[in-house]
């Protein structure tokens, strides 16, 4: 399944890049990075169904929740 998903993402990216009239390297690079990120996410979801969503400001959320519930004293 992982191989099929990777193949699908590579095929879509290759087909679209082939369709472009011009291929400036900056655009191609960003396109490939984004496609690789999307493909990686798809593979990770297949491998781990409960993949954790990162929370960069999760601590603020927790603090907010504690204050909201009135337990911010301790």
């Amino acid at each position: 399944m992982v191989a099929v998903v990777i193949l699908a993402y590579v095929a879509v990216a290759a087909f679209e890049l082939w369709q472009w009239k011009e291929r400036p390297w900056k655009k191609v690079l960003l396109y490939l990075v984004l496609s690789a990120a999307a493909g990686t996410l798809a593979v990770l979801i297949i491998l781990d169904n409960d993949l954790k969503v990162p929370e960069p400001i999760g601590f603020v959320q927790k603090l907010f929740k504690r204050l909201w519930q009135g337990g911010g004293g301790s």
């Binding site: 900056k26 396109y31 984004l34 999307a38 996410l41 979801i45 400001i57 603020v60």
Partner: protein, 382 residues
């Protein structure tokens, strides 16, 4: 190429975006029987934010949002802000796709894998986003006639099932549930139009943002209030908050002479159309913001990878219908508050200060030029 959307079409796009995928959920369910009051409070609280968004776009008239932001907060802060909004819009697109796929799986296609539906929706929104905001706005105008026609008929038919006693007693639980319901509504969907600021490249006149955002938002809020209140009065205040899709359940009760029944499928179609417009708008906003953040004027080349990312993203953020309901009835989220309230307010304040400063400089310059011109004339005379 900058795309210009006529005011009326823009207004309909805002209307369809806000109504979008929100129609079926127990909006403001925490308010119970006082849902109408929660709607009025939330509308009153969200309106200043919508006016603020329109004001920002009005102050940046004649430039794209990216160029305008660069002018007021600098190049790199503007790009960083664009990157944050790109992530926010992409995440919202994932949520909307997840909402639709979970809904379809729950009510119609229980054995179809969600990823199949997500792929189909991703393809559709990819197409719409590549066509641009002009085409999307025209599509929204066309579809609004179907969606609002259906909602009007459904509302009229629901009137036979309505029990106005469900709204009584007023504020039995005090102010707290009403405020909580209003917060739910602010979180989803009343503060979401911030994404639309990234979608419109330019407006016809300086007042156009007001004509687009304010009536679009108010009409959408009114529509949602009417549909939510009607559904609550049909299913009851307690059940309204318990059901995953109370409007769906309420419409299912319509029975006209045992002939016109099972009309909920029509509401499902309206929900799918609204959701499609919303997810396409989110993808377009994400693409435009991301392209700007990396210094590109054309956004179309990033649409495909972002849409391909939405397919796994929709399975990542939300996995079950319970999570869909939880996300639709949450009251707050720090990241959302930061991007939907704090960032626009900060940008607006800086924009006001900068534009007033430049206007004063312009006036002083004109006065100096006039003085110099007057002096020159006197010296010539002498």
């Amino acid at each position: 190429m900058r795309e210009l959307v006529p005011d009326q079409q823009g207004m309909i796009l805002v209307l369809m975006f806000v109504v979008g995928n929100t129609l079926l959920y127990s909006l403001g369910g925490l308010a119970g029987a006082d849902i109408w009051l929660a709607f009025l409070i939330a509308m009153g609280a969200a309106l200043p934010m919508v006016l603020l968004l329109a004001r920002i776009r009005s102050l940046l008239h004649g430039t794209s949002l990216g160029a305008g932001l660069e002018g007021i907060i600098g190049k790199w802060p503007a790009r960083l802000l664009a990157l944050l909004y790109a992530g926010h819009s992409w995440r919202l697109a994932c949520y909307v796709v997840s909402d639709v796929t979970n809904f379809v799986q729950a009510v119609a296609l229980p054995t179809t894998p969600q990823v199949v539906l997500a792929t189909l929706f991703a393809l559709l929104m990819l197409w719409a986003a590549k066509e641009g905001v002009e085409v999307m706005a025209r599509f929204a105008v066309l579809m609004s006639k179907i969606v609002f026609g259906v909602l009007a008929v459904i509302f009229l038919l629901l009137l036979s099932e309505v029990d106005l006693a469900e709204f009584q007693p007023v504020m039995y639980g005090g102010l707290k549930p009403v405020v909580q319901g209003a917060l739910q509504l602010l979180y989803f969907p009343f503060l979401e139009p911030v994404i639309l600021v990234w979608v419109f490249d330019c407006f016809s006149t300086k007042n156009s943002p007001y004509k687009v955002f304010v009536p679009g938002f108010l009409l959408a809020a009114l529509t949602l209030m009417i549909m939510a209140s009607a559904s609550l009065s049909v299913v009851g205040a307690h059940r309204y908050a318990q059901f995953f899709f109370p409007v769906w359940t309420a419409v299912g009760r319509i029975n006209v002479a045992a002939f016109l029944t099972r009309l909920e499928a029509i509401v499902g179609i309206s929900f799918a159309i609204g959701s499609f417009i919303k997810m396409a708008v989110c993808l377009l906003a994400a693409s435009k913001a991301l392209a700007y953040a990396f210094g590109f004027s054309d956004y179309r080349f990033v649409v495909t990878p972002l849409a391909m990312g939405v397919i796994p993203g929709s399975q990542w953020f939300i996995t079950t219908v319970l999570e869909v309901e939880r996300s639709a009835t949450a009251t707050h989220s720090v990241s959302e508050i930061a991007l939907q309230v704090v960032a626009p307010v900060v940008v607006w304040m800086i924009a006001e200060i900068r534009t007033r400063g430049s206007a004063e400089k312009g006036k002083q310059g004109n006065a100096r030029r006039a003085q110099a011109g007057g002096g020159g004339a006197t010296s010539n005379k002498s």
